[in-house]
């Protein structure tokens, strides 16, 4: 089984220390986290972690289960890039004079789906949203013109097959035992299951 990019989506309670508890699940197996985003989810009070790693499916499945075992974690899903819609945001700071002189800014913006966030006398900040190759491309375009600063956000991802967490949460709020954890890829047909 070869390694590939997986996006792990974790629904959790909003609790101090949980970030560490989740992060160490990866570091104890010496797995590098390529990208990590925490944000609110579609359900009020439920937090959502989006974590990108390069791993085999086998390891990601085990990781997802071990993450899900943590007391404050409601559910952990993992998906390949084909199964999600994902975006990252990038910002680029360049000297305004060079840009104004040497580049047809309008064309640049149009071609890369970028927009100017701030235009000052000394510098201009562009912003673009897209996948890794797209944001990377704009770096190489801007580099010759004296790129001062570059930053890219963590990945945010929407799971294509997901019907949201509202219904799942209701199951969680009911008393034990719960059907939720007994999704099983051996005896069930895998595609009929949400993930896992």
């Amino acid at each position: 089984m070869s390694k590939q990019e997986f996006t792990v989506t974790v629904y959790t309670e909003n609790q101090i220390g949980l970030l560490n508890r989740i992060a160490i699940m990866f570091s104890r197996r010496k797995i590098n986290i390529e990208s990590l985003n925490t944000s609110p989810s579609e359900v009020e009070g439920i937090h959502r972690f989006t974590i990108v790693i390069n791993e085999t499916e086998d390891v990601v499945r085990k990781l997802a289960r071990q993450i899900e075992k943590q007391v404050e974690v409601l559910k952990a899903y993992f998906n390949t890039n084909e199964e999600i819609v994902w975006q990252e945001l990038a910002m680029y700071k360049v000297p305004t004079d060079t840009i104004a002189e040497k580049v047809k800014v309008e064309r640049l913006l149009r071609e890369h789906g970028a927009r100017a966030v701030v235009i000052r006398k000394d510098y201009t900040v562009f912003e673009t949203t897209g996948q890794r190759e797209e944001t990377d491309k704009l770096i190489s375009v801007l580099e010759p013109y004296g790129l001062i600063e570059f930053v890219r956000s963590a990945r945010v991802a929407i799971i294509k097959a997901s019907s949201g967490f509202h219904e799942k949460l209701k199951e969680f709020e009911e008393a034990e035992p719960s059907e939720v954890v007994v999704e099983n890829e051996f005896l069930d047909k895998q595609d009929e299951v949400f993930t896992m």
Partner: protein, 580 residues
């Protein structure tokens, strides 16, 4: 981020007259409501308010003053293991808390329910490198099932309720609650203690799916050579009777892991011995010949499986476990039966056919006969002058009849004790299985005695491990704990020496350990003792130890370079187990 404490609104007891309590008192009220009777602990600056409150609760809560926090937490583990209840330990901030880490890790890997309470510096000092401040929450995150820092006393009842619920439910484990000193001192309006029985993000009990149970039963009924292996899950699930009924109806040969040992009487007719690196010959070899392998409440540790890619490849694996993350973690299962084995085993028992497998069982017995000749007989009935560890255990078996609680440390003596000790009752084998913590046995035996006060508790310890926590002799002295200490002294760190002999060309690197006069040490603590090195004294001295009123230390000098066999060498398959 804000904190969220979810507690089901079920009132157990309201005490309207207790209107104002301190955080410290609330901790102790929680203990009473949870049925705690014994606390192991050690005071210090940041936990003084709790100890101050404890002064008034002495008649209701027994506190055992240990000599080191590691001793405290191992004692709480021993208590939990023999009593089936949650062990409780107190420690102060900083070094007190860090001294708990080994015990937490041990309890985590061996699924022992514990609630550890640590004091912490005042909330306004957090993060300032205050005196005895340490980031306990982050230090203990990998080794706790759950941990939480309380900075406001009003949180205490709900947090403690959650702590006890999490520690004990599902797959048990250690929980640590860190309470800042201001929260311990803070007075608040107390409206009673409500037990926790549901946390929405926590699913301790998976729903049992009958179709998987049916699938498993079908597989078992069609099997020609089925084999049952079980671990501590049977004990943790209090499912010893259910388990026994299952194997007796299905007629399947059954082996145990070190953690499962004693859940089934060791002389049960279907019992074929212990699995793993120093387990019995038959169960290891035949793991690779069975057609259906039924694993109950065990986690396929590498010491059990040996080389994983050569482990039971021919078999269909049925895995019963309460923890879904254990399914397929190490060994792929054909049918996973998620759930509490107390529920799943009776369902399975109902569906399996009443059967016997005389020829298959005979194969285990044949291997056993080979093992008897090559390993067991020389160990139990040696012809050498030197005493062996095995013959000491044999004498102990004869004198206790298999009714004692045996607490072992880690190393050769542990393997020999677990191989040869006879057990009639469950919760009788207390050992550090997963973490392999030397120094575990003496403090764990103290706790084991408090957890099972009516039983004889024998701590079997090596000369190395004993020196790691021998300060707990002070606890035995002060609290008058009736623990029988049996030191098997081979004047070596024996297990490491065995590996150095077998795999490192006898380069005995720093395993030659000298020991004090243990009997004199015990005497210093007011504990009676004896040391023997002759076979003729063995029977009488073990008897003397067992009959002595109160604690007793018996040192038995055993052969210096004896090895434990059989052995599955590291990296080898279970079927490549060596008899010598």
């Amino acid at each position: 981020m804000s904190s969220t404490i979810e507690v089901a609104p079920k009132k157990i007891e309201a005490q309207p007259n207790l209107t104002s309590l301190s955080g410290s008192q609330a901790v102790l009220e929680a203990f009473l409501a949870e049925g705690v009777d014994t606390i192991f602990g050690y005071p210090g600056g940041a936990i003084m308010p709790i100890y101050d409150a404890l002064y008034d609760y002495q008649t209701k809560l027994k506190h055992i003053l240990v000599r080191h926090e590691q001793g405290g937490i191992h004692a709480a583990q021993g208590y939990a293991r023999t009593s089936g209840r949650t062990g409780v330990v107190f420690a102060t901030s900083g070094p007190g808390a860090t001294n708990l880490v080994t015990g937490l890790a041990d309890a985590m890997i061996d699924s022992t329910p514990l609630v550890a309470i640590t004091g912490q510096v005042f909330a306004h000092l957090l993060g300032t490198d205050a005196f005895q401040e340490t980031d306990v929450i982050n230090i203990t995150t990998p080794v706790t099932k759950w941990n939480y820092q309380v900075t406001d006393a009003t949180e205490i009842p709900a947090v403690l309720a959650k702590a006890f619920y999490i520690a004990k439910s599902g797959r048990p484990g250690p929980v640590l609650i860190d309470i800042t000193k201001n929260a311990q001192l803070q007075k608040f309006d107390y409206s009673g203690y409500e037990k926790c029985n549901h946390i929405r993000s926590y699913r301790p009990k998976p729903l049992v799916r009958k179709e998987y149970v049916a699938e498993a039963a079908k597989m078992i009924n069609e099997a020609q050579q089925p084999f049952v292996i079980f671990g501590q899950g049977v004990i943790l699930g209090k499912a010893e009777n259910e388990f026994r009924k299952f194997i007796e109806k299905a007629g399947i040969p059954t082996a145990w892991t070190i953690m499962g040992e004693s859940a089934l009487p060791t002389d049960h007719p279907l019992g074929v011995g212990m699995l793993g690196m120093h387990g019995n010959y038959g169960p290891n070899v035949l793991t690779n010949e069975c057609d259906v392998l039924i694993a109950v409440g065990m986690r396929f540790d590498d010491r059990v499986t040996g080389r994983l890619d050569k482990y039971a490849k021919q078999a269909k694996v049925i895995h019963l476990d309460i923890d879904p993350s254990e399914i397929d973690k190490n060994v792929k299962s054909a049918v996973p039966v998620w759930g509490d084995c107390k529920e799943t085993l009776p369902l399975l028992t109902e569906l399996v056919e009443q059967k016997v497998y005389p020829q298959w069982l005979q194969r285990f017995r044949d291997y056993q006969a080979q093992e008897e000749e090559a390993c067991i007989n020389p160990e139990l009935n040696p012809t050498t002058d030197e005493l062996t560890m095995g013959e000491v255990i044999k004498v102990l078996n004869e004198l206790t009849g298999g009714d004692a609680v045996v607490v072992t440390d880690v190393g050769q003596h542990q393997m020999v004790a677990c191989r040869y000790a006879k057990f009639n009752k469950t919760r009788s084998n207390v050992t550090s299985g997963g973490l392999g913590t030397m120094g575990f046995a003496l403090p764990a035996a103290i706790g084991a005695k408090f957890g099972a006060p009516e039983r004889t508790v024998v701590a079997i310890i090596g000369d190395g491990g004993f020196q790691m926590t021998l300060q707990e002799l002070g606890t035995i002295m002060q609290s008058e704990v009736d623990v029988k200490i049996l030191i098997l002294n081979n004047r070596f760190l024996g297990m490491v020496r065995q590996w150095q002999q077998l795999f490192h060309d006898k380069r005995y690197s720093f395993v030659d350990i000298t020991s004090p006069d243990f009997v004199q040490v015990a005497k210093g603590y007011g504990i009676a003792g004896n040391s023997i090195s002759d076979r003729k004294d063995l029977q009488a001295s073990v008897q003397q130890m067992l009959e002595h009123k109160g604690s007793f230390l018996l040192e038995v000098m055993v052969g210096k370079e004896n090895n434990v066999f059989p052995m599955v060498p590291q990296g080898a398959s279970v079927s490549e187990i060596r008899l010598k």
